[in-house]
Amino acid sequence: MTDNELIWRIAGGSGDGIDSTSQNFAKALMWSGLNVFTHRHYPSRIRGGHTYVEVRAKDEPVQSRGDGYNFLLALGDSFARNPQEEAYYGKEELKPLYENFDDLREGGVLLYDEGLLDEEDVDEIGLEEAAEENNWHVVPMDLRGIAKEHGREIMRNTAGIGATAAILDISTDEFEKLIKQNMSGDMQEANLNVLHDAYEAASELDIDHDIEVPEGSHDEEQVILSGSNAISYGAIDEGCRFISGYPMTPWTDVFTIMSQHLPSFGGISEQVEDEIAAAALALGASHAGVKAMSGSSGGGFALMSEPLGLAEMTETPIVLVEAMRAGPSTGMPTKPEQADLEHVLYTSQGDSARVVFAPANIRECYTQTRSAFRIAYEYQIPAIVIYDQKIQGELRNLPASHFDEEPNADPGSVLTEEEIQDAAHHSSGKFQRFLHEPEDGSNVSPRSVPGQKDGRFLATGNEHNPSGHISEDPENRIAQMNRRLNKLDDIRADLDENTSHQTYHGPDEADYGILVWGSQQGTVFEAVDRLNENGHSVKALGVSDMAPYPKEEVSEWLESVDEALVVEMNATAQFRGLTQKELGKYGDKMSSLLKYNGNPFEPAEIVDGFESSIDGEELAASNMKYVPAAGD
């Protein structure tokens, strides 16, 4: 397959600069007018260990990483060359080369650094046979040597880019611009020289491949960023000025971005002793009148269970981010999975009322984080944004105008001092913070903030009466419980009216449907297009609202198809289970395609999975699991 797209993979050791090089490569391609999408793969190690990043570029918007790739830049793992005997891992430095054989498409190009990898060793890994079999174009180049000539070995990356540009016949203008932008002085000069020398050297080679890098142009100014960037910017634009956290992969990303920027926006960031404290701080800041957020990944989020319940019971708004990685327990720290859905929906004791949004891409990370803050503060309820390690790290371009929105600092249903004077007070002078029946007929009883005159109330995790005092009176209990739970209906109505988070894809009328949530949405949409091209009749629905659940939308959609395949990255079909529980039926209509080996779906896998499911055949691929509909 050499159709009109480039999927360029750069592979090396963690710490070899693979990330930054791929980011630059992607940005340069975006500047040249293409749409880009990156996919990161890295092991749970700081230095060394095989890591790669793919950059997919097309002239039309890119939804997923695609299937396989067509250009490999294998730099070799420089950290495997550790001189200390004990830390030497044999042929480890070759891994970035041979471990990438599987996915390189037929006819693809394989460029490797013969300066780092010994020719004899390369012979041993069966490169020649594999290349012959797959019609690969193998290009050994001494990238290390070129870099060393101008000073430092680490500029191997730049040499790799120069050579890539020559082989693919793309201009180096954008790369030069980037180098000039990011570096100065000797470093800048050295890198420019390396870029040119490698370009020249590769130009002289005669490589007859048929990868065509598409041409494109943007009619609007673009930005390239990650899901974590988008979540952070959504929070800031919605008036969040307080974040508290404790590092845990992949949540650390949002925490770091927020910590770097909040002070310059007049906000506060706190790294604290653990995740219980982190969530508790967000609660304290919100109680005092500030829009606040915290978050974590699986294990850390488990620790937040108690403060989360406290937020529900005291109706203190907070936003928590849950960045999923493969579990249970510490699981696979650097691998994506969508298996914390139930954890996030049901953790914490009692009948709980919380809001959970699962953005499916970078665009939605921004808008839905904004929604989460708006809903949390207007309805005095905790809102959770759940996403995964895949969206966290992938970069994608979108129009800058997507972020050109007014800020919203409104802290929701907080009264001003004047309003407090007119509001209900108990005869003891206490402000009636938790009215059974708020005056406007809604389920939200307005709140006051410490320091406001005559706004005194008690917030407590125990059941409480209208002024906040602990109460076990049965009637009061029912009134408070109902009011808290009923907010979910109001929120559902509000979302339906103002901001639908669900995404429809494919023809309106179709026999089959694919239901998906979170990060797998783009991949599913791409698969749906291919399936329709192949003559199937399929559409897809991407659901983002996990709670309150969009019952009507999903029911209608499920009614409109004969059968639906639910695609998700976990082993127990959590989202399908949720859908069935929420809708109370359709168990016989939904089957599942599951993947939980640490790698997200590729579109071709979904195509295969769909086709074998309708043909009633066993899945050929062993890395996925098919679970038939109930009653099948």
């Binding site: 100014e221 673009q222 930005v223 960037n229 910017y233 800031i236 000025r241 307080f242 508290s244 920027h261 002070p263 926006f265 906000g267 506060i268 706190e270 604290v272 653990d274 219980i276 404290a277 982190a278 508790a280 701080l281 609660l283 304290g284 800041a285 005092a288 009148g289 829009k291 606040a292 403060p307 406290l310 005291t314 800058a400 972020f403 007014e406 800020p407 600092a409 802290p411 907080v414 001003t416 001092e417 005869s427 003891s428 002078g429 206490k430 903030v449 410490p450 320091g451 406001q452 005159k453 005559d454 706004g455 109330f457 008690l458 917030a459 407590t460 995790g461 125990n462 005092h469 602990i470």
Partner: protein
């Protein structure tokens, strides 16, 4: 005008203003030492000139956690052991609030021990009162981190093999800048210490000895006690770390030998509070963050104008 006009209101404050009126029902047992803390706290408020609307009281869970049912201010009865992290953030969000946290020995030295150490280490400008009754009260009398070695309870029927925690020394090491021990039986000292702690600019830790006549049957009432500042026997400089450490060692040892030593144990005035340090390094706004949400003229910057350049 500030959105928080209760803050620094200039007027005479009455002790009674902190009594919540008829509403909450008493749940403390007769004779409970917790009443002594409540009384001292209420008496301290007129001294420090704080009115109920500018005080934010954060409690944990336990009998001690009920304090804010009896105390008329903004209150947050949090979860077991977590009053401090909630309180810390409220103070950072609005440094003008008078932030007080309270909880039991199980709450602060057991389940919340980590937060207690870190709050002291960071020197947040809050006052923390630990109701130390050497027992778990609310859950009906289990051994607590301050119960004496050998203490028998239903959960440790053979007598605890653990030595009690030494909260004063621990908090000195952790970094608290005001540390005192007082007792419900010593109302005047208790009131003065609470007032001083509130006025102290930094983390003030008060280990408040309170008797639990219900579950500590051989209840100590912590009498007779000695006020170390009043006694000739203990001539030490409260601002000297080494001398304070030695005094604390004595205090903690002797408590379990039946001698109750109370008073100021350590006072450090030089070290800036955490909020101040954060402000100095540019990690905290000059004006209270909470105020901005009520300020109609506040300018809310957008990421579009500031951060996107880098992604273009």
């Amino acid at each position: 005008m500030s959105a928080f006009s209760a803050i620094n209101e200039e007027r005479e404050i009455e002790r009674d203003e902190f009594t919540p009126g008829i509403e909450p029902q008493a749940t403390w047992c007769p004779g409970c030492g917790d009443f002594g803390v409540l009384k001292a706290l209420k008496q301290a408020m007129p001294e420090v000139g704080k009115n109920p609307d500018e005080v934010a009281l954060f409690t944990g869970i336990g009998c001690s956690g009920k304090l804010n049912s009896y105390f008329n201010s903004y209150g947050f009865h949090t979860i077991h052991g977590r009053s401090l992290p909630v309180a810390r953030a409220a103070k950072l969000a609005n440094p003008n609030l008078e932030v007080i946290a309270a909880g039991g020995d199980g709450d602060g030295y057991g389940i919340g021990g980590n937060h207690t150490i870190h709050t002291a280490r960071e020197n947040h400008d809050i006052t923390y009162i630990v109701f130390n009754n050497e027992i778990f009260g609310l859950t009906k009398g289990q051994t607590s981190p301050t119960s004496p070695k050998g203490h028998k309870s239903k959960t440790q029927p053979h007598g605890s093999a653990k030595s009690p925690i030494r909260p004063l020394s621990q908090q000195l090491n952790a970094g608290a800048t005001y540390i005192a021990r007082t007792a419900a039986v010593n109302p005047n000292q208790a009131k003065e210490i609470i007032a001083e702690a509130i006025e102290h600019d930094g983390f003030a830790h008060i280990d408040f000895l309170t008797q639990c006549p219900t579950w500590n049957k051989d209840a100590k009432h912590y009498v007779p006690y000695t006020d170390v500042q009043q006694s000739d026997e203990f001539d030490f400089d409260v601002s000297d770390r080494a001398e304070a450490a030695e005094m604390m060692r004595k205090t903690e040892e002797r408590l379990y030998e039946g001698e109750v030593l109370t008073g100021r144990m350590y006072i450090e005035d030089e070290r800036p509070s955490y909020g101040e340090e954060k402000r100095q390094i540019g990690e905290m706004p000059e004006e209270p963050l909470a105020e901005r949400y009520f300020d109609e003229d506040a300018e809310w910057e957008r990421t579009y104008d500031n951060l996107l350049e880098h992604h273009k």
